[in-house]
Symmetry: C2
Subunit: 146 residues, 2 copies
DNA sequence: TATTGTTATACTCTATAACTATA
DNA sequence: TATAGTTATAGAGTATAACAATA
């Protein structure tokens, strides 16, 4: 983790630093709305899907089902999301944004994406495609995309 | 955040995904030792420096001073780190690893770095230098390194 | 019997403010 | 007066296990 001593010439430290940058960005965006990083991530995951099941949401956020229950509880109490029963499987619960939730989510989502694009803006155009393939290689995504 | 819809061709989502991968790696490594992600990050920050001041540590971990106090408390109670007063400035406190802390830290540090290298291993050799420069561009580091 | 989610418990993290001691 | 760190409090996240309803 010291600079330049590893055989990777600092890539490892750089990645760790970058990970902090990205996740702190979620926290910073949320702060203005008194939402935590996790709450912002949940809202962003819901808005791009319109509605989503608890299990899938847990997988996306890497959160245990009990923790997710609490997370959704807090957002439901604040009137931002609603639970409803999945008609196809009565054990399952799905989540959507309320009207107020949608308004908040749009603001937050635009803010998050514009900040991420702000990071990307630092990379010269002609390097972006190779950066994407490197990122996908690290996360285990097929180079062709998912 | 949906794939391929943005003008960045998925780089934004990829970066967010990567950030999760990297930070979950800290959490996963810690789990085996019953240490949280934050505790692993603190230990890794101390071991590469031998000793470190609270203020600097707070900056590295992006943690408020009060939160850091608690974090150090818990690790001190578990016998992994020790506080001592900075002789140069009697307001300041510095942190070092205990004997047991050093043993644990070495295991953890090796585990973290080998996992990060595992991520990097997915990137073709000839792309690593440009990836590093892209990463630095995003975190605001000068291309020449810090 | 296995799965989906909720509840309970206990611990950890985060944020803010008030406080002590040094500078 | 400013800075370093601690303490207190309250809300939020995480991990485990026990549980009810449904498949």
């Amino acid at each position: 983790m010291t600079s330049g001593t590893g055989s990777d010439d600092g890539l490892a430290e750089g990645l760790i630093d970058l990970a902090h940058h990205v996740l702190h960005l979620f926290a910073d965006v949320g702060r203005a709305h008194r939402l935590s990083q996790q709450q912002v991530e949940l809202i962003c995951a819901v808005i791009v899907r319109d509605s989503i099941g608890m299990s899938e949401l847990g997988r996306i956020l890497h959160v245990e089902k009990s923790g997710l229950s609490n997370l959704v509880d807090r957002l439901e109490q604040r009137g931002l999301v609603t639970r409803y029963s999945d008609p196809a499987d009565r054990r399952a619960t799905r989540i959507t944004l309320t009207g107020e939730g949608t308004t908040t989510a749009m603001t937050i989502y635009n803010d998050v994406t514009s900040r991420v694009r702000g990071l990307i803006a630092g990379i010269p155009q002609n390097q972006r495609r190779s950066t994407l393939s490197a990122v996908r290689a690290m996360t285990g995504d097929a180079p062709a995309g998912r």
